[in-house]
């Protein structure tokens, strides 16, 4: 441990030059002392808030505004066991076929499209109960599908989750792979979170029909 502050000789280096103390050449901070003091206090409060948030006290939630709270919610990682593997999927109403079929939406969400950091997965994970967001998702998927595949136009979507049971520890199992919806057994629970209204689907299909190929 370094000697206490009162024992340390005060250096007076030139601007930008290291201060020399007992063979130690100390890089000079550029920030004024007052700024560093304020930063130290704010840094201390930040660290305390991170700890408090993870420790589950809830005080940080009550005191901090949302954008600040967001930055302190970072330590409580994976506290709970997953009950099932959740797969988020979409089925689309194909105008020409007049029925729902699975639609692979990964091309429309190219950021980390194959894992649960995909924007589609994240949107479903965060907003599965917010119809307004799911309706926006529906419009986006329809827009992209109809723009990129005019030969397979859609009028709307069904957004759903699959709950795939996790075997007990130590059970041998096959490696994870993404399967088409049709290949999952009926025993796998499906939950439909959003379905485009029938009238909306018909209207979109009629409008697309009017636009031609």
């Amino acid at each position: 441990m370094a000697p206490p502050k009162s024992d340390v000789p005060k250096p007076s280096p030139g601007k930008g030059e290291p201060a020399k103390l007992d063979g130690v050449a100390l890089a000079q901070p550029w920030a004024p002392r007052r700024l560093r003091q304020v930063a130290a206090v704010l840094g201390g409060l930040y660290v305390f808030a991170v700890w408090l948030d993870a420790a589950g006290n809830g005080a940080a939630d009550k005191v901090l505004p949302l954008p600040v709270r967001f930055f302190v919610q970072e330590a409580a990682l994976f506290p709970h066991a997953a009950r099932d593997v959740i797969e988020w999927r979409a089925e689309a109403w194909f105008c020409d076929a007049g029925r729902f079929e699975e639609l692979d939406v990964r091309p429309y969400f190219p950021i980390r499209r194959d894992d649960k950091e995909s924007r589609f997965y994240r949107a479903m994970f965060f907003h599965l109960h917010q119809r307004r967001v799911l309706a926006e998702l529906d419009r986006f998927i329809a827009r992209e599908q109809n723009r990129t595949h005019p030969e397979a136009r859609i009028g709307g979507v069904m957004l759903l989750s699959l709950r795939i049971p996790i075997p007990p520890p130590g059970t041998p199992e096959a490696r994870y792979q993404r399967l088409p919806l049709a290949e999952y057994p009926t025993s796998i629970e499906r939950h439909y979170w959003f379905v485009t209204d029938k009238a909306e689907r018909e209207q979109r299909c009629a409008e697309l029909q009017g636009e031609g190929p």
Binding site: M1, V24, A55, R69, A75, D115, R122, E136, G170, P172
Partner: protein, 302 residues
Amino acid sequence: MRRPPRSLTPLDRVRAWLEAPQPIERLELIRIVAPLVLLAFLSSRLIHADHWLSPIGFRVPYLGGSDWRQPLYLPPVSPGVAWTIALLTTLAGLCLSAGLLTRVAAGAFAILLAYLALADRLEAFTVSKLGPMIALALWLSPCGARYGVDAWRRRRRHPEAPLPTHVPGGVIRYFQIFLAAMYSGAGIAKLRGDWLSGDVLWSHLHDNYQTAISWFLVRSVPGWAWQALQYLSLTFEVAAPLWFVLPWTRRPAVVVALSMHAMIGLMFGPVIWFALLMSTLLVGCYAPERWLLRVFRRGAPV
């Protein structure tokens, strides 16, 4: 008659500990490696900047300003602006890592990372939240005084000036305290969750985060071993401040933490960037000084 020297108060001792000079290599390691890890994490987003930040991709609509899922609504930007932000972020991160225009680069990197974390909740993860804090701390510090382009240019202009060997302790102490608090908070959260009795580790190994290594471990590690690993993690994390404060437990704690992060990084696909970022802070803050000196002074004398 002379007065006896005043005894140190606890506050004096804390201040002395906080301000004790630290080897400059600790700070420069974090300055060099952390921005690269942050950019590597961001890379899969930056290459789709238009899908990320502009209306070309899916955007969550404004949710009213009081929804935790949208801490701050920032409207989408045009694709051109999105690409510009991506380019500037990359440049700022690379400059900071190279020690080129270090202070400006660190400040710009902190602002851009904060913007990216808030602009889109769907792409914000723990690394996104840690990034601005790390860049901000680097901005306030004298990082770049050694082992970078700025330092090399300074050395060429003033070859007679002594090379700094230490930095004021504050920034390193800050990272050290942050790590201890982060682990401790994480441990308490796990303790309050399912880690004592549930199969948490095992349960997270079966989805699309699964790697070849995690699948191998799923098949080869006996069921009870997962619970044992959970207890080891809990023991380390909950008492992390103690392990890092006590000199004789510090090095084993570093080894345990690095092993834990290695497992996380290898078993959970993209979580590798979080593992690498935490490992960088850990090595910068707590690795034995002579290890760091050996690495730096052998590789880059300036």
